[in-house]
C-alpha cells in the first residue's frame, strides 16, 4: 500500500509539467456535460485552479532549488529533434506561477457572479470551458519548447479569447469579437509565415536545435532571417496590442464580461509577449537581435506605446475602456524591457509582466464589481461608491497605487529595475519616458479614486438608474436581476467569494511589492539565461 502511494506520487511528480497543461484542457472539454449542474462545474473550475496553483508553486520550488539547468520533459518519450519538448526553466516557472496565481482568483470571482452578464446555465458552462482552455493554452505557452506547438497553443488561446469576448449577450461584444478575430488571425498567419521561414532554412522545429542551426547559417541567409524575424515580431505585436496595432483591444477588453476582461488584459496578451520573448531570445538569440537592430525597435515601440496608450486613456469616460487603454500603455513597459538587452532590464520586464498581470486583473475585477452593483459604467457617475463598497474600492485603490509605481506596491519594483536597466543600457530617454508614464498613469487613475471616495453620492431621479447600462437588455432576458432602479441601500460589496478574490489579489500586490524575493530571483535567473550569447 505504502509502496503504491509512493509510486503514484513519483509518477505525478515526474509528469507534473504535462499535468499542469492538460488538466485545464481536459476538464474544460468535459464541462459542457455538467451544464445543468452548474455548481458542480464551478466547483471543478476552482478545483482545477487550486491544483494548477499548487503544481506551479511546486515547479517553481523545484526550479529555485535546482539552481541551474532546465528540466526537460519529452512528450511520448521521443527525444528532441523529433518529439515535442516541455522545458521547465526559470522563465517557464515564473510565467506559470503568474498564470495560475491570477487565474484562480479570477475564477473565484466569476463563480456565481456570471449569470447576469453571460445569461443562462448553458452559456455559463461554455464560458468556463473557454476560460479553462485559455488557462491551459497559456500554461502550455510557458512550458513548450517547440515552435509549431507554440503556434497551435497561440491559436487555441486566440479562439478562446474571442469566445470569451463574445460571451456577453450584447451586440457590441459580438462586433468587438469579430474585429478581434480578424486581426488576431491576421497576426497568427504572419507568425505562421515566420515559422515557415525558420523551418525552411533550419529544418528544425525544436527551439534549441533551430537556434543552433540559425547561428551557423544566418550570414548566408540574411534576408530570410530578417524576414522571419519581422514577421514574428509584427504577428505577435498585433496579438499583444503594441501601440499602432492595438485597435482591437479597447473594444474587445471593455465589452467582455468582467472576469473575462480581467484574464484577457491580465494574462492573454502576456502569453503572446512570452511567446515573442521565446522566439526572439531562444530561437534567434541576442546576437541576431542586436545584428538586426530589433532591440532598438522594441525600445522605441515600447516608449511610443507608453506615452500614446496613457494619453489615450485620459479622455475616456467609460471605466472599463479607460482601463483597456491603460493596458495598451502598460504593455509598452514590457516591450521596452524586452529591448533593453541587459540583465536588469529583462528581469524588470519579467517582474513588471507579473505585477501588471495581478494589478490589471484586480482593477478589472473591482471595476466589474462596481459596475454590476451600480449598473453604471461612466466614471463621473461613480460618486460615493467608495463608502458603500469599501473592500472593492480599497482593492481598486491599492491596484492603482501599484500601477502608478508607489513604493511598497508591486509596480514599483518592476519600474525600478526597468529604470536601472535603461540607465545601464546608456540611454537616458527610456528613463524619462518611464517616469512620465507613471505621471500619466496617476492622471488617469486618481480621478476615479477621488470621485469614488471623496465625492458624495448625488440625489438622483429614480427612473434614470437602470436604463443606461449595457445590462438592461440582459436583465430583461434573464429575469434574474429585478427590474427597476437600483436602490442606494442595495449598493454594497459583492459576495464573499468575490471579496475573497479581491483580497487575495490585493495581498498579492502588496506581497510582491514588499517581499519580491522568489519571483524576482526567478526573473533575474531567467534574464541571465536568456541573455547568454550562443
Amino acid at each position: 500500500m505504502g509502496n503504491g502511494v509512493t509510486k503514484m506520487t513519483e509518477a505525478i511528480k515526474f509528469n507534473l509539467p504535462v499535468f499542469v497543461v492538460i488538466a485545464p484542457l481536459f476538464i474544460a472539454i468535459v464541462l459542457p456535460v455538467f451544464a445543468r449542474r452548474i455548481r458542480l462545474a464551478e466547483g471543478m473550475v476552482i478545483f482545477v485552479g487550486v491544483l494548477g496553483l499548487a503544481g506551479a508553486l511546486f515547479l517553481a520550488h523545484i526550479v529555485l532549488d535546482r539552481n541551474s539547468g532546465t528540466w526537460i520533459y519529452q512528450m511520448g518519450g521521443w527525444p528532441a529533434p523529433w518529439g515535442i519538448e516541455l522545458t521547465v526553466g526559470n522563465l517557464a516557472a515564473s510565467f506559470l506561477l503568474v498564470v495560475m496565481g491570477v487565474s484562480l482568483p479570477v475564477s473565484l470571482f466569476a463563480v456565481g457572479n456570471l449569470t447576469h452578464e453571460v445569461g443562462g446555465k448553458q452559456r455559463t458552462a461554455r464560458f468556463y470551458t473557454l476560460f479553462l482552455l485559455l488557462v491551459g493554452a497559456l500554461a502550455g505557452m510557458a512550458l513548450t519548447n517547440d515552435i509549431f506547438n507554440t503556434y497551435v497553443l497561440v491559436e487555441v488561446a486566440t479562439l478562446s479569447c474571442c469566445g470569451l469576448v463574445s460571451s456577453r449577450r450584447h451586440p457590441r461584444a459580438a462586433e468587438a469579437a469579430f474585429t478581434y478575430l480578424m486581426l488576431a488571425t491576421l497576426g497568427s498567419a504572419l507568425v505562421l509565415c515566420g515559422i515557415g521561414f525558420i523551418y525552411t532554412i533550419t529544418g528544425h522545429l525544436n527551439m534549441g536545435f533551430a537556434s543552433q542551426a540559425l547561428n551557423e547559417i544566418w550570414q548566408t541567409k540574411r534576408h530570410v532571417v530578417w524576414m522571419a524575424m519581422s514577421l514574428v515580431f509584427v504577428g505577435f505585436a498585433v496579438k499583444s496590442a503594441l501601440f499602432p496595432l492595438h485597435v482591437w483591444l479597447p473594444d474587445a477588453h471593455s465589452s467582455a464580461p468582467s472576469p473575462a476582461s480581467a484574464i484577457l488584459s491580465g494574462l492573454a496578451i502576456k502569453g503572446y509577449m512570452i511567446c515573442l520573448l521565446k522566439f526572439f531570445y531562444s530561437v534567434f538569440g541576442p546576437g541576431l537581435i542586436k545584428e538586426f537592430a530589433m532591440d532598438r525597435l522594441l525600445v522605441l515601440a515600447g516608449m511610443i506605446a507608453i506615452i500614446a496608450g496613457s494619453v489615450m486613456a485620459i479622455p475616456q469616460d467609460d471605466l472599463k475602456r479607460r482601463l483597456a487603454f491603460s493596458t495598451v500603455g502598460q504593455a509598452g513597459y514590457i516591450f521596452l524591457g524586452f529591448g533593453l538587452m541587459n540583465k536588469d532590464g529583462l528581469a524588470g520586464a519579467l517582474f513588471y509582466l507579473a505585477s501588471h498581470a495581478v494589478i490589471k486583473s484586480t482593477l478589472f475585477l473591482s471595476a466589474g464589481a462596481m459596475i454590476s452593483a451600480t449598473k453604471k459604467r461612466k466614471i463621473s457617475e461613480l460618486a460615493g461608491v467608495g463608502r458603500r463598497m469599501p473592500v472593492t474600492m480599497a482593492a481598486f485603490t491599492a491596484a492603482s497605487l501599484g500601477l502608478i509605481g508607489i513604493p511598497l506596491f508591486s509596480g514599483f519594483i518592476g519600474k525600478w529595475y526597468l529604470i536601472t536597466g535603461s540607465i545601464e543600457a546608456g540611454s537616458f530617454l527610456p528613463t524619462v519616458v518611464i517616469i512620465a508614464g507613471s505621471v500619466l498613469c496617476a492622471t488617469y487613475l486618481f480621478p476615479v479614486i477621488r470621485v469614488a471616495w471623496f465625492e458624495s453620492a448625488p440625489k438622483e431621479p429614480q427612473k434614470a438608474a437602470a436604463q443606461e447600462t449595457g445590462d438592461a437588455a440582459v436583465q430583461r432576458e434573464t429575469a434574474e436581476v429585478q427590474e427597476g432602479p437600483v436602490q442606494h441601500g442595495q449598493l454594497k460589496d459583492p459576495g464573499i467569494l468575490q471579496k475573497l478574490a479581491l483580497v487575495l489579489l490585493t495581498v498579492a500586490i502588496i506581497v510582491l511589492g514588499t517581499v519580491p524575493g522568489p519571483l524576482l530571483e526567478l526573473a533575474k535567473r531567467a534574464a541571465a539565461e536568456l541573455l547568454v550569447l550562443r
Binding site: L186, C193, R377
Partner: protein, 156 residues
C-alpha cells in the same frame, strides 16, 4: 539578371503564395462586408499553406507512403503536410466561429456590413447622449419585433 529570373521561375510556388497572401490581406482590410473579410482570411491562410508545402516538396519526389516495391524512390518531407493539417483545422474552426458571429450580428443590426454597423452604433450612441441621462428610456426589446435596428445598439 538571367540567373535571378531563373531562380524566380523555379521557385514559383512562393511567388504565388505571396500574391495570394497579399490579395487575402487586401480583402480583409478593404472590403467592409463581413463575409468578404472571412473569405479573405481563408485565402490568406491557404497562401501560407502553399508556402509551407512548397518548402517540403521535392520536384519529382513521391508521396510519403512506404512502398516496398520502389526501393529507390525519393520521398518528400512529410512534416510540413502534417503541420498544415493542423493549420486547416484552425482555419475551419476560425471560419465556423466567425460565421456564428456574423449570424449574431445580423440578428442584432440587420446587416452584415462592418461600416453600416459602425454607423448605426455611433448614431445610436449620439442619440442616447442627446436624449440626456435622465429621461432616456431603453426601447423595449420584448415586443418581439426586429423592426428598429438602430435602437437596439445604443448601449455600450
Amino acid at each position: 539578371m538571367r540567373i535571378l529570373l531563373e531562380k524566380l521561375i523555379v521557385n514559383y510556388p512562393y511567388f504565388f503564395a505571396v500574391i495570394l497572401f497579399v490579395i487575402g490581406v487586401l480583402t480583409v482590410l478593404t472590403r467592409s462586408n463581413l463575409f468578404k473579410k472571412l473569405l479573405g482570411i481563408n485565402i490568406m491562410e491557404s497562401a501560407v499553406f502553399i508556402l509551407f508545402i512548397a518548402a517540403g516538396n521535392i520536384r519529382g519526389g513521391t508521396d510519403p507512403i512506404l512502398d516496398t516495391s520502389k526501393p529507390e524512390a525519393v520521398y518528400i518531407n512529410p512534416l510540413p503536410s502534417a503541420l498544415m493539417l493542423t493549420g486547416i483545422v484552425v482555419s475551419v474552426s476560425v471560419t465556423a466561429f466567425a460565421l456564428s458571429l456574423i449570424i449574431r450580428l445580423y440578428r442584432e443590426y440587420g446587416t452584415a456590413d462592418a461600416r453600416q454597423i459602425a454607423q448605426m452604433r455611433n448614431s445610436a450612441l449620439k442619440a442616447a447622449d442627446q436624449a440626456g441621462r435622465d429621461n432616456y428610456r431603453h426601447p423595449d426589446r420584448s415586443n418581439g419585433k426586429r423592426g428598429d435596428k438602430n435602437d437596439r445598439s445604443n448601449q455600450i
